[in-house]
Amino acid sequence: MSSFREKLHRKATATGLLSFSAIFEAVEGFIYGPSELADGAPHIHDHLEIKRFMSMAIVALLPTTVAAVVFWGPRVLLVVLVSYLAGGLVEVAFAALRKRPIEEGFLVTGLIFPLVLPPTVPLWIVAVGIIFGVFFGKEVFGGTGRNIFNPALVGRLFITIAFPKAMSTSWQAPFTDAITSATPLSLYKTGQEITPYVDLLFGNVAGSMGEVFSIGIIVGGIFLLLTRVGNWRIPVFYVGSVFVLSLIGNIFLPELIAPPLFQVLAGSLLFGAFFMVTDPVTSPYNNESKIIFGVFAGFLTIVIRSFSGYTEGVMFSIILMNALAPLIDHFVMKAKYKPLESV
């Protein structure tokens, strides 16, 4: 068993091809686990590692992923596969060229991305999106942990703008072949029509593959928060501020601003709140900033959903808040740590 491991190791180092050694290293670490020992104090370490950290996010995504497969059939898996292959290519290429380890964060990006796409999305668009997202959303900044914007969302944003027709006009309700252009949010936008809450909870509506099955998202999301992999602050304040703002807004501008429960259940709000704003890399450092982040994101979501030409308020607000996160942190740190008194 360990001789196989050695063989693997020898092969990896012998092959002149860098990309292979990066892949071998990744596979070796994946199967055999960590072998490094603590070098000095502390002599012991927490058993949580990044592989498990990211796996938890994937586990949390499972309910809604399974639901998507049930709703729209095996093509969903094909979309996920394309996302992993195309994005993985970029990840591996960069790891090899820049001589860095392949980082596991991509496994989450590669799954989240397809889940926020319409079920009818052409496969080539999936590839363009994930490649763009991983490349411009992550690798140019130096890879996992160093990016500013949520890579999956950068990819989604790019293809939303680049291919408006494919991305916003061909929706499909579960178990049907009929193409419709009406998601619950656009129904409200055009005619203040409220989709029944039961349908929203169980996912019997048109929408992105991973965003419709609210129950599964909530279950997975709470799991993520309870494990501490996702920090609870942003989701709680994000959903909370959407709720409160739409409660107030709905009173004054009912033809534009939908009622609170609808806002929370329709579209990708819950998905974004549990799986996207929890991305530790692209959220702010400070607990105080996280709260501000959540509240602002809620505000922007409502503004964009209600007043702009788009219904994708969640996507835009999260990217916008990713951009604002460093600034928020800057001010919070300034407030938290008083400037030194000159002596």
Partner: protein
């Protein structure tokens, strides 16, 4: 009236952002967005100059050039007004606000050759704005520019801590990527306000 002024102001910041939609004022944007201090310094200077030149250029164009039929040379007039305004602001600041002068005086000369100042004045003429709208639009555009550069500067400061940017991408390259992503994100406001 007030509502439409507010719309122009919001549009100038969000949907018709001078940096993110019209790609103007990019040279100082690239070189000064590396730190928050320079970004905000230049930002304040831009607000001053852009608003002031609009205040001056609108009457010159509409009350002097148009009646005398000399619209032809408005480029020349505008650019001279801008240069003079920058000089004036510099002098006034030195005289009355030496503290401000220290803080962002060095940014002022850079503004003379900043295309966004001229562009704002040109937009006023092309769009045939009223005087009040012009001022609001100019001020909003400048604020929109500050908003964009300050966001990018804060991101750059964070990247100094966490980034591991490929060599060829450092500096302007990564700023373009950040600004591009920001521009994509600002498209989300499409339709919120119209110019």
């Amino acid at each position: 009236m007030l509502a439409s002024l507010l719309m122009v102001f919001i549009a100038a910041i969000l949907t018709h952002n001078i940096a993110l939609t019209y790609l103007l004022g990019m040279c100082p944007f690239i070189s000064l967005s590396k730190s928050l201090r320079t970004a905000s310094g230049m930002g304040v200077a831009v607000v001053f100059v852009v608003t002031l030149t609009a205040v001056i250029n609108w009457p010159i164009y509409n009350l002097i050039l148009v009646p005398t039929g000399t619209e032809l040379i408005y480029y020349i007039v505008f650019i001279i007004v801008i240069a003079a305004t920058v000089q004036l602001v510099e002098m006034l600041m030195e005289r009355f606000f030496p503290v401000l002068q220290v803080a962002f005086g060095i940014f002022l000369p850079l503004i003379t050759v900043n295309c966004m100042v001229l562009a704002v004045s040109l937009f006023l003429v092309i769009r045939d704005y009223s005087y009040l709208t012009s001022i609001v639009f100019a001020f909003g555009s400048a604020v929109g520019w500050i908003v964009a550069i300050v966001i990018v500067a804060a991101i750059n400061e964070k990247l100094k801590l966490i980034g591991d940017i490929p060599a060829g991408m450092k500096g302007p390259g990564i700023i373009f990527v950040i600004t591009g992503t920001l521009a994509l994100a600002f498209l989300g406001f499409t339709g919120v306000a119209n110019i």
